[in-house]
């Protein structure tokens, strides 16, 4: 929205942008009411009770308990209402739908690297379809960054050593800003780009045009062979390592008696810190790939393993770790 050509309000390009903006206008109205109200009161009182003669003093009024309670309780109620509304919008913003299209974003000084499952890799550019929820799993190769889409009204920090995520559903085709909003050094202001929202048909067309290396999962399959994972992880389960078929989303028991659900965080840990959790019935033989696998290759491997559990990943997400993942093992090799 612009006034005299000056933009004063960002586009509402996602489904929840209007929810956020509605919340914004409510808070704005409340604040304006109090700010203007008190300002007017203060000015009017200042004029009405202006000192008229020397030596004049004010009336002796100590206070008024009912009034104190009134102006403590009412703001509290308003505040609680604001909190509740804000919390519910937030909850919605942090719960990606199961059917969301999944992407990966890796932040590094000073660029954003996006990877589509179909194999396309983009730097500082992102193409996504309109009308479909998109979930982005974010990590960092070096320092803190933060992925921000103002037009979609959402952002999330990129933390080295962890995965975080955000989601949105873009509605309006167009091009919008991407910013890094966590200071990261010299070219923090240059870590910007554009997200292009395409009509679904146009998006499909764009997808066909790229990805010479095949999909992300295909690239992961190639890595799986190059790194000789298949020599131990036989499908039959009789190899030195457990079978990886249909394991995503299932419960697995470990040697020490604990168990866990197999999700992305677990898969990542198994690759980088293979001795952390040994599956019951197997020996601790798996070497660690810490330092041997970059962040980008790691996500490719994850997609390949996930592709071996077609039923569980039919909605193209694993039981993803929530934004507040417990401390994941050390970061992969820094590039």
């Amino acid at each position: 929205m612009t006034i005299f050509g000056i933009p004063i309000f960002p586009e509402q390009a996602s489904t929840f942008a209007k929810d956020v903006d509605a919340l914004y206008f409510f808070i704005l109205a409340t604040c304006a009411f109090f700010a203007i109200g008190v300002s007017i009161a203060v000015v009017l009182l200042g004029l009405k009770y202006r000192k008229t003669h020397e030596g004049q003093i004010g009336a002796r009024i100590e206070g008024n308990l009912p009034l104190e309670l009134l102006w403590s309780v009412i703001p509290t109620i308003i505040a609680m209402f604001m909190f509740g509304w804000g919390a519910s919008v937030y909850y919605h913003l942090r719960r990606p739908p199961d059917e969301a299209l999944h992407l990966y974003a890796v932040g590094k000084q000073w660029m954003w690297k996006f990877q589509h499952l179909e194999g396309q890799r983009e730097i500082n550019e992102l193409h996504i379809p309109a009308g479909r929820p998109v979930k982005i799993t974010i990590s960092s190769e070096d320092v803190l960054h933060s992925l921000y889409f103002p037009a979609f009204r959402t952002k999330m920090d990129a933390i080295p050593g962890r995965y975080t995520e955000l989601w949105f559903e873009a509605q309006k085709p167009g091009t919008y800003h991407i910013f890094c909003t966590e200071y990261c050094g010299t070219n923090h202001a240059g870590m910007i780009g554009n997200v292009t929202v395409l009509e679904p048909a146009a998006y499909q067309a764009w997808l066909q045009g790229g990805g010479m290396e095949g999909t992300l999962a295909q690239r992961g399959a190639k890595l799986f062979n190059d790194l000789a994972c298949q020599t131990c992880h036989l499908d039959t389960g009789q190899g030195r390592g457990p079978s990886l078929k249909d394991i995503v989303g299932t419960n697995v028991e470990f040697q020490d008696g604990t168990s866990a659900v197999i999700d992305e965080a677990y898969l990542r840990e198994s690759i980088l810190n293979s001795q952390a959790k040994i599956v019951k019935g197997y020996q601790p033989l798996m070497p660690t790939f810490q330092g041997l696998v970059s962040e980008e290759n790691l996500v490719a491997l994850l997609e390949h393993v996930k592709s071996m559990s077609p039923k569980a990943t039919a909605s193209s997400t694993a039981a993803a770790a929530p934004a507040a993942a417990t401390p994941a093992p050390a970061a992969a090799e820094k590039k």
Binding site: P7, I8, F9, V20, L23, Y24, I27, T30, C31, F34, A35, V38, V43, L45, G46, Y49, R50, K51, I57, G58, A59, R60, I61, E62, G63, N64, E68, A79, M80, G86, S88, V89, Y90, L93, R94, V143, P150, A151, K155, I159, P160, G161, R162, T164, H177, F179, C180, T181, Y183, C184, T186, N187, H188, A189, I192, A324, P327, P329, A331, K334
Partner: protein
């Protein structure tokens, strides 16, 4: 009533001459004056960096200075303004000067520790300035890891050490005030007869004493990480960079209350004196200071809503953050009610008080946007946040400081300043401030991130408005330097109580004696009673 007033023969300024009598003084008033000069120098320096920032941001491209230089500008602006100007300002200058006479004491409980506090401030300042002069720091005043621990190659260690050292100055001041308020009150000066300025400083001192050690240890941990290669925050060794944020904000959020509580105390004094009326709801205002201090300690993670904390933790901290807004609102309502049926006059300090009301309101209310979870996701780390905290820190704290400085200037120096120029300055500051920072709310909602030296073209107009406003603001701050210094020699003699105020410090001569009182006062009345004051008023503006 209009007898020719004269500066008293004997006062704290002429009680001993020469550098030694100042540098080795135990007099809280002389220490306050030395702080005044020191923080004014720091303010000027921080202001120069602000000028650099606004000059760069007048154009969308990064064309005024290099990116690295700009990053150093905003870092050093923040470090100086927060640690070396705002945190000491009101307590070390006005608190130091006024608390003993306000409570009827001859000095603070620990005069030598007060002097030590000043020396420590100077040493910390020298470390930090040395770091700046030899190349600067570019981490932002928040020093987030891993960037500050490993990726930045600027002078982080000396800067961090400077802040560490200055922190002790803050702790010792707070410690001194707490003991003074507990043990040095004159006979009859019960807790509920204390001026609200004293209550505010008591609350501030609690925060200083309990909070500052945590930033100190955080700096120690950053230091060992950087200097020795320890790995406390290093993700490749299992460390958590977000742990740094928790530790940092555990202090730095209460720190903002260190910066605003004293100004809230000044406000009570100004509103009362210039309405000639007792503060409405005295105990509510007194307790609200304590409430702000306490609640201020439990909201730190509202700076981390997008830092990867869990959804549930975020909800808890959002809820608690609203709680801290309520006591501030209570104060504003009580001041407004104080005006009702008052006898109000608009000398310069009251102009600052009015300015404070408006700007603090906006600043505080915009905090609600940021406490609201769904809203903060969009606004975090944008210029909306920058505008919010400048409304409170500059529109609030600095206006409170300027109001207090103008209010107590006659007491501190015995002279009045130019009525005309001081009013012009107050208005310039108010107008310039709004011009500078209001557009930042808009450009922040548009999505302009913080700490960017270049930005998309469409955001230029708002940035130019902001930069233009900054020059008006700068002028508003420059004028007082001139007319206040001018008043030292040429100002009209003020007399003991030019504004007809009711608190104890105005019952002494201006400037006060070194020992403040010739005889120990015994307090018998309630605070802010004006019936008796009128009879003793000797100079009316």
């Amino acid at each position: 009533m209009l007898d020719k007033l004269k500066i008293p023969e004997r006062h704290y300024l002429n009680n001993g001459h020469g550098l030694k009598s100042w540098l080795l003084t135990k007099d809280h008033k002389r220490i306050a004056i030395m702080y005044l000069i020191s923080i004014s120098v720091m303010f000027l320096l921080g202001g120069l960096f602000a000028m650099g920032i606004r000059l760069e941001l007048a154009t969308p491209q990064g064309d005024f200075v290099q990116a690295d230089t700009y990053n150093k500008f905003f870092t050093m602006h923040g470090v100086i303004m927060v640690f070396f100007f705002l945190i000491p300002s009101i307590p070390a200058v006005l608190g130091n000067f006024m608390i003993p006479p306000m409570i009827g004491a001859k000095d603070l409980a620990f005069p030598r520790i007060n002097l030590l506090s000043l020396y420590i401030y100077w040493i910390g300042g020298i470390f930090t300035l040395a770091a700046m002069v030899t190349g600067g720091v570019d981490t932002g005043w928040t020093f987030y890891t891993p960037y500050s621990a490993s990726a930045s190659n600027t002078h982080i260690i000396p800067t961090a050490l400077g802040i560490f050292i200055a922190g002790f100055s803050s702790i010792l001041t707070g410690l001194n005030f707490i003991v003074t308020i507990h043990r040095m009150r004159a006979p009859g000066m019960g807790w509920f007869r204390l001026p609200l300025f004293v209550w505010a400083h008591y609350a501030t001192s609690l925060v200083q004493v309990l909070g500052t050690p945590v930033i100190a240890i955080t700096i120690v941990m950053l230091f060992v990480e950087r200097a020795f290669g320890f790995g406390i925050f290093d993700p490749s060794r299992g460390g958590d960079p977000v742990l740094f944020q928790h530790l940092f904000w555990f202090y730095s959020h209460p720190a903002v209350y260190i910066m605003i509580l004293p100004a809230l105390g000044v406000m009570s004094e100004l509103v009362s004196t210039f309405s000639k009326k007792m503060i409405f709801g005295y105990s509510f205002v007194a307790f609200s200071s304590l409430a702000i201090a306490v609640f201020g300690f439990i909201v730190w993670a509202h700076h981390m809503f997008v830092a990867g904390i869990s959804t549930y933790a975020a909800m808890v901290f959002s809820f608690l953050s609203f709680s801290v807004a309520i006591p501030s609102a209570v104060k504003v309502f009580n001041w407004t009610a104080t005006l009702y049926k008052g006898a109000i006059s608009f000398e310069t300090p009251m102009l600052y008080a009015y300015g404070f009301m408006g700007l603090f309101l906006i600043g505080g209310l915009t905090g609600l946007f940021l406490a609201t979870l769904g809203m903060d996701i969009h606004l975090h780390d944008t210029y909306f946040v920058v505008a919010h905290f400048h409304y409170i820190m500059v529109g609030g704290a600095i206006m409170g400081y300027m109001g207090g400085l103008h209010y107590w200037w006659p007491k501190m120096t015995g002279r009045m300043y130019s009525d005309f120029f001081s009013r012009i300055s107050a208005i310039l500051v108010f107008v310039g401030f709004n011009l500078t920072f209001f557009p930042q709310f808009v450009v922040g909602y548009l999505g302009m991130p913080r700490r960017y030296h270049s930005y998309p073209d469409e955001m230029q107009v708002l940035n130019v408005m902001s930069s233009a406003g900054a020059s008006v603001l700068g002028l508003g701050y420059l004028l007082p330097v001139i007319y206040l210094i001018y008043s030292l020699k040429k100002g009209e003699v003020a007399g003991p109580n030019p504004y007809g105020a009711s608190t104890l410090e105005w019952q002494t001569q201006s400037p006060p004696l070194t020992e403040n009182f010739t005889e120990v006062p015994v307090v018998t009345g309630e605070p802010y009673e004006y019936e008796h004051v009128v009879a003793k008023e000797s100079h009316l503006v």
